[in-house]
């Protein structure tokens, strides 16, 4: 394969500069860092495993009727009390057996995904916004504002997420998905604030930010155009991993009885199942496995995304 003549013969300066980038067609196209990360992700099997699982869980949450036609609330105590799973009956109500009230464990698990997924996503969205803004202001403006915001972050860090959530939720007599979201977001934004603050401080010192300041760019432009896009990668990674944590915390709260009420949820089902653990372990194990698979998928996805964005691995 012949190398194309790289530098056209012309004047000393401009021609000298003008060697087209070697490397052929794929480099002649514009490739952003995001596109590079996507290329990296595509070749990572872990990404695909976690992505497929997550799509499945999202589908369950969005259209549970796709997976089962059984009503999760339908109880048939006489016929199905703690019915054993029929592992061969795929997608049938008795696939994973029945619980202590004669409800289909399969149907309940499918419908339980919705609470977990909604809470996971909403809390993550909330903490990313709250933590991101706090971290960005603390990191960019520094000084007294940073000191105050950082100490505030430290104080909240002192409160365990679960404990804080419990105390706050006690105040509500009627608890819906949204109260749980509020409680978890209130005590869960700190890691995001920290990551954002660190990333902003790093980017703030970058030469291209100095260059923008030298051009006379205002604070808004510097923050939104130069700093924010360069801090997204670490924030996305931390947020993805945190999402898993929120899902499991929600389940824990529901298990403890101070989370969701009268909603189908993995946490509530796990909580109910502990009474019959000896007689029918499947009642507990099935929602528990779905829960840990969801959490695991998010953590794996976060890892894969981090690897893709890490330029050192390129």
């Amino acid at each position: 394969m012949l190398n194309p003549t790289q530098a056209p013969e012309a004047g000393p300066v401009s021609a000298a500069a003008e060697a087209p980038l070697p490397g052929g067609s794929e480099i002649t196209k514009a490739r952003s860092l995001g596109q590079d990360a996507w290329r990296e992700l595509r070749s990572n099997p872990i990404f695909w495993v976690s992505a497929v699982l997550l799509v499945l869980f999202l589908l369950m949450a969005a259209v549970p009727s796709l997976f089962t036609s059984t009503d999760p609330g339908h109880a048939d105590l006489r016929n199905h009390y703690l019915g054993k799973p029929e592992w061969g009956h795929f997608f049938q109500p008795d696939w994973f057996g029945y619980n202590g009230q004669g409800q289909s464990v399969y149907a309940r698990t499918i419908y339980g995904a919705r609470a977990s997924v909604i809470i996971g996503f909403c809390v993550t969205l909330g903490v990313t916004l709250v933590g991101g803004v706090i971290g960005m202001f603390a990191g960019y403006f520094g000084g007294l504002l940073d000191t105050l915001l950082s100490r505030l972050t430290d104080i909240f860090f002192g409160i365990p997420l679960l404990l804080g959530g419990m105390v706050l939720l006690q105040a509500f007599t009627h608890r819906t998905i949204w109260t749980v979201v509020l409680a978890l977001a209130t005590f869960g934004w700190m890691p995001l604030a920290r990551v954002m603050r660190g990333a902003v401080i790093t980017q703030k010192q970058a030469d291209f930010v100095t260059a923008a300041r030298a051009l006379g760019a205002g604070t808004t432009r510097i923050l939104l155009r130069h700093i924010l896009p360069n801090t997204l990668a670490p924030v996305i990674v931390v947020a993805t991993i945190a999402l898993g944590g929120f899902v499991s915390t929600e389940a824990t709260l529901s298990y403890l009885g101070i989370g969701l009420q009268s909603t189908v949820s993995w946490g509530v089902d796990i909580s109910d199942a502990q009474n019959v653990l000896r007689d029918a372990p499947h009642v507990l194990l099935v929602p528990a496995s779905f829960l840990s698979l969801t959490v695991l998928s998010f953590i794996l996805l976060g890892d894969a995304v981090r690897d893709a964005f890490d330029p050192k691995l390129r």
Partner: protein, 390 residues
């Protein structure tokens, strides 16, 4: 042009040393007192004749406070990064500033760009002190003084395309943007710096170091500035690419009538590109003069040591040269030596050097002579010594 300026200057300096009041009487500053913002902007956009001073720096000081404590910070000292320097930049010339790391040369660049606020002193751009400007007048200054950075890998936003990077100055200064097609103008700029105009939509990481530096230069040119401050613009580049970029910068200077302040540690490159050169040591200007004055007739011992230490790519020229090997390291700028700052490493140092700060002026023994040694040098015992030629 710079030569004739120097003669006037020489007279000024002798007067100044006699008066002993004004430490460095370089050219006189004709200040412009603008009553309104409009007047200020108009004065800043006025033309300056070739060879006239365009930038006049007077007693510029920057101290970075050293603080202790977490919530209540108290100052425990200061890093004297720049400690009273004065110099002029003439229209159309290149002023080189050399010195070792920690001498304050990069801080000077930031001060001139108003990226840092000066602790004391003035920077007169066309007669107005830019350290005191704000609002539209400051924006006008920012338009006219641009910067090229050292590291082409960090000075371009990795998330923006080349077109967005070079076009950003127009978004920030819409008043200076070309009427009509901005994209076309950006492509023209790419062509001017020797890059393919088709590269508009690519991202910085798709380019090599030398090409990225060209993008940085194109960004600096976008607003048609008068002064470009170059902070080590080629030191991060490969040897074979450095010459390309240096040649490009010289070409652009002629084409766009630019004045450069060229900050670098590589003395050979500075000599090549500069009309005049200032040597900095620990926040002070040790010596300043035309390139021949500094390189062929240095009178400050630090300049002599610096020049003699430069490795010359010619083993034979090397052997005949005298080398002055300095002992020790540069002292901390937080706690600089009393008197002359160079005295702790100087082989000529005497008691006087610890007590009296030497002024930057033409040494008395050379004053009034035609010798090229008659240029400003801040040494009590200035004497000529050729360390460059074998």
């Amino acid at each position: 042009m710079a030569e004739t300026e120097k003669d006037d200057k020489a007279v000024d300096v002798t007067k100044a040393t006699e008066a002993a009041a004004a430490p460095h009487g370089i050219t006189e500053v004709t200040t412009v007192d603008a009553a309104t913002e409009d007047e200020a902007v108009a004065a800043l956009d006025a033309e300056v004749g070739s060879g006239e001073p365009i930038l006049q720096v007077r007693n510029l000081v920057k101290h970075f406070p050293l603080t202790q404590g977490i919530l209540f910070k108290k100052q425990v000292g200061a890093v004297k990064a720049v400690d009273g320097i004065s110099f002029d930049l003439y229209q159309g010339e290149t002023l080189g500033i050399v010195g070792e790391s920690g001498c304050g040369k990069s801080t000077v660049a930031k001060l001139l760009m108003t990226l840092e606020s000066a602790t004391a002193g003035e920077v007169f751009y066309k007669g107005q002190d830019i350290t005191k400007l704000s609002g539209r007048a400051l924006r006008a200054v920012r338009r006219n003084i641009q910067m090229v950075f050292q590291d082409p890998y960090t000075s371009l936003n990795p998330r923006m395309t080349v077109g967005d990077i070079i076009g950003e100055p127009y978004e920030i200064h819409p008043e200076a943007a070309p009427k009509g097609d901005r994209r076309r103008k950006v492509q023209e700029l790419l062509d001017v710096v020797g890059l393919n105009p088709e590269y508009l939509n690519r991202y910085p990481h798709q380019f090599s170091g030398g090409q990225r530096q060209r993008i940085g230069i194109a960004r600096g040119l976008a607003l048609n500035p008068e002064i470009i401050i170059c902070d080590e613009p080629v030191s991060a580049l490969d040897v074979s690419v450095q010459a390309q970029v240096i040649n490009l910068m010289e070409k652009l200077q002629d084409e766009f009538n630019l004045s450069y302040i060229f900050i670098a540690h590589d003395l050979s490159i500075v000599r090549h590109i500069s009309d005049r050169v200032g040597v900095m040591y620990l926040g002070k200007m040790a010596e300043i003069g035309t390139d021949a004055e500094i390189y062929d007739h240095p009178t400050h011992p630090y300049t002599q040591a610096l020049l003699s230490a430069v490795p010359v790519p010619d083993p034979e020229a090397r052997e005949g040269r005298e080398r002055i090997i300095l002992t020790g390291d540069v002292p901390s700028p937080a706690n600089p030596p009393s008197g002359c700052r160079f005295r702790t490493r100087c082989w000529k140092a005497e008691d006087k050097c610890a007590k009296e700060v030497p002024l930057l002026a033409i040494p008395e023994r050379f004053a009034g002579t035609d010798s090229l040694a008659a240029h400003e040098s801040a040494c009590h015992f200035a004497e000529e010594k050729d360390v460059v030629h074998a």
